[in-house]
Symmetry: C2
Subunit: 363 residues, 2 copies
DNA sequence: CTGAAAGCGCTAACAC
DNA sequence: GTGTTAGCGCTTTCAG
């Protein structure tokens, strides 16, 4: 069969875009069977060296590049993983993705970030569609999926780790407020007794958890709270809260829900003529890049997003690999991606905190 | 043909993962041909309503979900677009992607962000592999590609807009320094004569362009420069530069290459006992989120990354659509994605800038 | 309006 | 070592 009846499809129509060369055309040009070309492409070394060179020449002459869709159809490998996120963008997600990508790269996988929106039901459906689209070898959902029929023998694993709610606000591990306890107890150790909390927007689980942790720790350590101000991430509100503080409030430490509120609080303190930290300690959250260079530099909480992404991706790759090996259900306990006593967040102590003043500022 | 010889492939091996139902199984269950199922799935309304309902039932009973790989093989549509970026993460890229995603969503496309690394040659090759992988209907490269054989009849368009160099540092439009001119000339209008520039890391094209624009504008407007300090994005260096300024420098305005340097410069000024902006004006770049809440709030430059992403994606979708229509080469001028007089960046005037002092600070 | 046949480009399995 | 055959799951084309 020499000419294979010229390009089988289409060139009768002039508007048709040029067909890309296929493996068969390469084979014909190299004088071998298409199968041998396939082997060569796969890196199969059983192919005669001479032939391999001839084939390589043909590939280059024809500017051949493999059709990954066709390949995937046969061998079920696309080299791609999907990461599901709700719509919106959060810097933390960028960092998580960059950590995840690092691991995926090492495993020769490409990451596709897919946004899923709509109701919980719709998102579930989208997730399953993706899982069964065969476009991916694994799916990592960073948003909560209400109900996931995961027949453990599904070819493509779907790993769920709810880190974001439907509006891309951190939840679960991302909203954990543990470090707040560390901050307050250490400040207490430095003599602070009376605190104020500048809370964020309660639509964010993190803001709620930090406020609750604040109140809980105050009570646990037998300290005093002068109150919780609902700032809703609004810097102006935080600044005003400080500016409007009664002269005799007795507050010596302010726990802000993030660096913006903390920076604004410093601004208010400056306005009052209070020195930070000599007369007032202030803490933030997020370890924003500027937090290190403000005056004073800000004590805050760094969340290790990239490492979180790495861990999640390692877990997904494990599951993918075990599925590929055809692991029996029970044989593979699939350890939790976040096991052991790893700390997701860490307090960064800087200049904005210090020992409590002998007498609280009162002017 | 009733039983179709039971699942054709594999169930002899117990470890084999369960096969997903196919269109044929749905068809058999609904008592129609697989073709009719295909039509129904496509939303073809010529299918009898009764039948459509029966088919839908079968789909649900079997928990059928289409194999997008098989579908793509036939109709060359995957509903996916690739965005190429160099390795690394930049917040600006997050914003660009989020704008691009917005438009892609509206066009029912999913975006895949693919990292391309290695030498220029290797990146070129990767880009072409992706273009011809048939996994995508279009490719948007935000990194520079040295040499792209773009046969205008290629089925899948590859649009290139070099915004990042191989290490994810902004170049091209992203490094444009235009607003620096606006800042300096307006400050000049407020009486400032003697300036200082805190430059960033010159590995970044943006840092170089801002420095050049600074020098050029100083000369053009017949102002004085007290010098350029190479801070390399290091806040400490910027702070020191201000702290170490001679008492009689005569400087009344500092142009910092980004908000971190600017914030650190403010910190240095505070250390010197200089009031900002009464005695010294300071400007940044990036419009970081905290820039609005520092004391004083920071005059800076906001770059409209998301809008840039939207425009680029609109352009790509245009090209994809015209290719799909089988446009003849010349018929479609494919206008530049960034045409007209749209402004990518904008100066945000805040409290850190003001009229020049009567006499420069000297203490 | 519905069914049958053909084939997208590739690789797994088996011959030779 | 290399060639032949079959078929992945779907849609397109063409009959009816």
């Amino acid at each position: 069969m020499a000419s294979e009846s010229s390009p089988p499809a289409g060139p009768s129509n002039p508007a048709t875009p040029r067909r890309r060369p296929t493996i068969r055309e390469v084979a014909r040009r190299a004088g071998v069977s298409h199968q041998t070309v396939s082997r060569h492409l796969k890196g199969d070394t059983t192919v005669n060296e001479q032939l391999a060179a001839t084939i390589q020449d043909a590939i280059e002459a024809l500017d051949y590049r493999p059709n990954l869709v066709a390949r995937a159809m046969r061998n079920h490998r696309t080299g791609r993983l999907a990461v599901l996120l709700p719509p919106g963008s959060a810097i933390s997600s960028l960092e998580i993705l960059s950590g995840a990508k690092e691991i995926a790269d090492a495993g020769e996988y490409v990451l596709e970030v897919v946004t899923v929106s709509g109701s919980a039901e719709m998102r579930d459906r989208r997730a399953l569609e993706l899982r069964d689209s065969r476009l991916f070898e694994g799916v990592l959902a960073l948003t909560s999926l209400s109900d996931l029929p995961q027949p453990d023998d599904a070819r493509v694993p779907l790993v769920t780790m709810p880190l974001y709610d439907e509006a891309m606000r951190g939840i679960g591990a991302l909203a954990s407020a543990g470090p707040e306890h560390e901050i307050i107890s250490r400040l207490a150790g430095m003599g602070h007794r009376r605190f104020l909390h500048l809370a964020g927007n309660y639509a964010h689980a993190g803001a709620v958890r930090r406020r609750d942790m604040y109140l809980q720790t105050i009570e646990e350590l037998d300290l005093e709270s002068a109150g919780v101000v609902d700032c809703g991430w609004d810097g102006d509100a935080a600044r005003r809260a400080v500016v409007d503080l009664p002269a005799d409030s007795g507050i010596t430490a302010i726990i802000a829900a993030n660096d913006i509120l903390a920076t604004a609080a410093v601004s208010g303190a400056i306005r009052r003529g209070w020195n930070v930290p000599e007369e007032l300690s202030i803490t933030g959250w997020d370890d924003t890049r500027v937090a290190a260079v403000t005056t004073p530099s800000m004590t805050t909480v760094a969340v290790h997003h990239a490492e979180l992404g790495r861990r999640l991706m390692r877990h997904l790759l494990d599951v993918v690999a075990s599925r590929r090996r055809g692991a029996d259900d029970a044989s593979d306990p699939a350890p939790s991606p976040l096991e052991d006593d790893w700390r997701l967040a860490e307090v960064i102590w800087r200049e904005s905190t210090g020992p409590a003043p002998q007498t609280p500022p009162a002017r």
